[in-house]
Amino acid sequence: MNCRNFLRTAALSSAAFAFLAFSTSANAQKKYDTGASDTEIKIGNIIPYSGPASAYGIIGKMEEAYFKMINDQGGINGRKITFVSYDDAYSPAKAVEQTRKLVESDEVLFVFGPLGTPSNTAIMKYLNAKKIPQLFVATGATKFGEYKTAPWTMGWQPAYQSEGRIFAQYAITEKPNGKIAVFYQNDDLGKDMLKGLKDGLGEKASMIVAEDSYEVSEPTIDSHIVKMKASGADIFVSISTPKFAAQAIKKVAEIGWKPMFFQSNVGSSVGAVMRPAGIDNAQGVLSLAYAKDAIDPQWKDDEGMKKYLDFLAKYAPFANPAESSAAYGYGQAQTVVQVLKQAGDDLTRANIMKQAASLKDFAPDTLLPGVKINTSATDFYPIEQLRMMRFTGEKWDVFGPPIDSKLGG
């Protein structure tokens, strides 16, 4: 009896001991900042659902749908994501107001995917001062990836400057004696990429014979194209957003000008640019890409694309697969989920930033084969590889290997 009692006590106490030991070690691992708990991770977001850039609102809706899918699958390490997304109408003043609301009233763990150069510029200082991650901003402006001055801010898509540099290399190799006319949108997008192009040309910057910018308020850009043609250029670089990209492609073809045509990535969607511009007019146009185009038949049997299209059917029936913004939101959300998975039970803001800066060869479903996300403590530019492509028939033909253009350390 005594002996039995002793055994029982010993068994019980050792079990209790083991339990205690286990729970203390678990406690040691679990660390939370505001916005995270055993059951929930609260993510904040601002995006223009209304106003001049409301076309990008779809990105926010896609992210919300993606998190819903993740939650339906049981969440991340057992925690559900609460996605709080506000409309900033593409207005920097509103962006600041909404971000403060996210941080101070909704108490989110971090801000994810805020869109647009103006809005992100406006909230960058505030978030960095408060040490709250401003993760994966939806703009390619180069300033969102400078880890020294803004250690809490990270970009996602390739920086516009990278694109300019890569195309400069291509132009030098293919047409060393070419004359370049640059047509660009008069904002950060245009100026950043123009700078990249000039940096990439280096000593050969004199190849640029004409530069002309347009404002988004202009109804048509015909006059610019006529002027560019008159400059005698045989390489045409069009740094433009979808509507103007389509107008430029159409006008260049209409006036019988046949330059080597380079179109910036933001204006290269098949459904939103090439088809409206006219498939015949768009033949031979060059561009750079990092993501797959969902309506391009060449990805019909691609695993990632199948997952994406299934997701669209189940969780985002409102999205038009032709819209590249939809795939953009999906890819961004997938990346942030990866960061949260890596963060495990240490959901502090510092660890979120640390994990975001330690992504290794991560490839979201929607990125081109060979393009991978890599970050480090000195590299805050997640996507830095692009592939050249040429518009042939009804789709983009990707050619050449992924080209790296490192801006970060």
Partner: protein, 292 residues
């Protein structure tokens, strides 16, 4: 010299867009004595309706005719529902109404058809016109339609009873009522016609600038400039104003360094102000004399 000719031709082609829009602006001004800020959005919405009908398989001209009817009725409904109750309200109330209408139509179109640009077919094709690569057959067609519209409007306002009654109702409502004109319905009719003309403008402009909810933003400002330059009371003036603004804008953009890029839109605004200061009635408008 080649650049000069090319810019002038391109300017005329763009001018046709402004002229179309300016006609709609003048039309509404004739009817209600105000500028309608939602004019461009109404035109954009009509164009989407036409596009939608074509997606459903209705041939171009069928969709064109149906859209005209839809816009005409739509214009009248907007007037009856929104602006008739405001008839006695001050101008500012009207302006607020126009801006509200602008925002509502823009958002509804975005919600219904989303913001990706859409290709809109042209009945004229887009091959080079008479061997010139600078003006396409579509642009030539657009100039043609603008001129036909202009002639029709001229005849309407000068020789038809309804047209005369409408002018009377706008310029002297009280006297018009005394001679038995139903001024209230004349205003509604003006809205209907302005909406219908706007829809034609929209359908002609869309093949060039592509169809999307914000396609009329810039166009309307230039349309206003064209109408003001030509004179808000003169359809002929509006059309000539449209071509002038188009050509002027291109030449200034090309030959005055520094102005070209950043200041293209302000050129339109500068034109409006200059004309209003120097010749308030525009180049072709009649002087408005008011008895005090």
């Amino acid at each position: 010299m080649e650049l000069f000719t090319n810019q002038v031709l391109a300017g005329i082609a763009t001018g046709a867009i402004y002229a179309c829009m300016a006609l709609a602006v003048v039309m509404i001004y004739q009817a209600i004595d105000h500028l309608n800020f939602a004019q461009g959005e109404m035109a954009m919405f009509s164009t989407f309706v036409a596009w939608q009908m074509m997606q459903w398989g209705i041939p171009y001209w069928g969709a064109f005719a149906l859209t005209l009817i839809f816009s005409f009725v739509g214009g009248i409904v907007i007037e009856r529902a929104l602006f008739k109750p405001l008839a006695k309200a001050p101008v500012l109330t009207h302006v607020a109404g126009f801006i509200a209408l602008f925002a509502i139509i823009n958002s509804v179109a975005g919600l219904t058809w989303d913001f990706t640009i859409k290709q809109f077919p042209s009945p004229f094709g887009s091959s080079p016109f008479l061997g010139s690569q600078l003006i396409s057959t579509h642009q030539a067609g657009m100039i043609g339609v603008t001129i036909i519209l202009l002639v029709l409007l001229f005849i309407f306002f000068r020789y038809t009873r309804v047209g005369l009654a409408m002018r009377a109702a706008a310029s002297m409502p009280e006297s018009a009522r005394l001679v038995g004109i139903n001024t209230s319905w004349m205003i509604a009719l003006g809205w209907g016609m302005a909406a219908a003309i706007g829809s034609i403008a929209g359908m002609l402009i869309a093949p060039v600038v592509f169809l999307e909810p914000n396609m009329m933003g810039g166009v309307l400002i230039y349309g206003f400039a064209a109408a003001v330059v030509g004179g808000l009371t003169s359809p002929l003036g509006a059309v000539i104003g449209g071509f002038l603004v188009g050509v002027f804008e291109n030449l200034v953009g090309t030959y005055i360094p520094g102005v070209g890029n950043e200041l293209k839109l302000p050129i339109a605004l500068a034109l409006i102000i200059t004309v209003l200061v120097v010749k308030p009635n525009g180049l072709f408008g009649r002087a408005i004399v008011k008895r005090v």
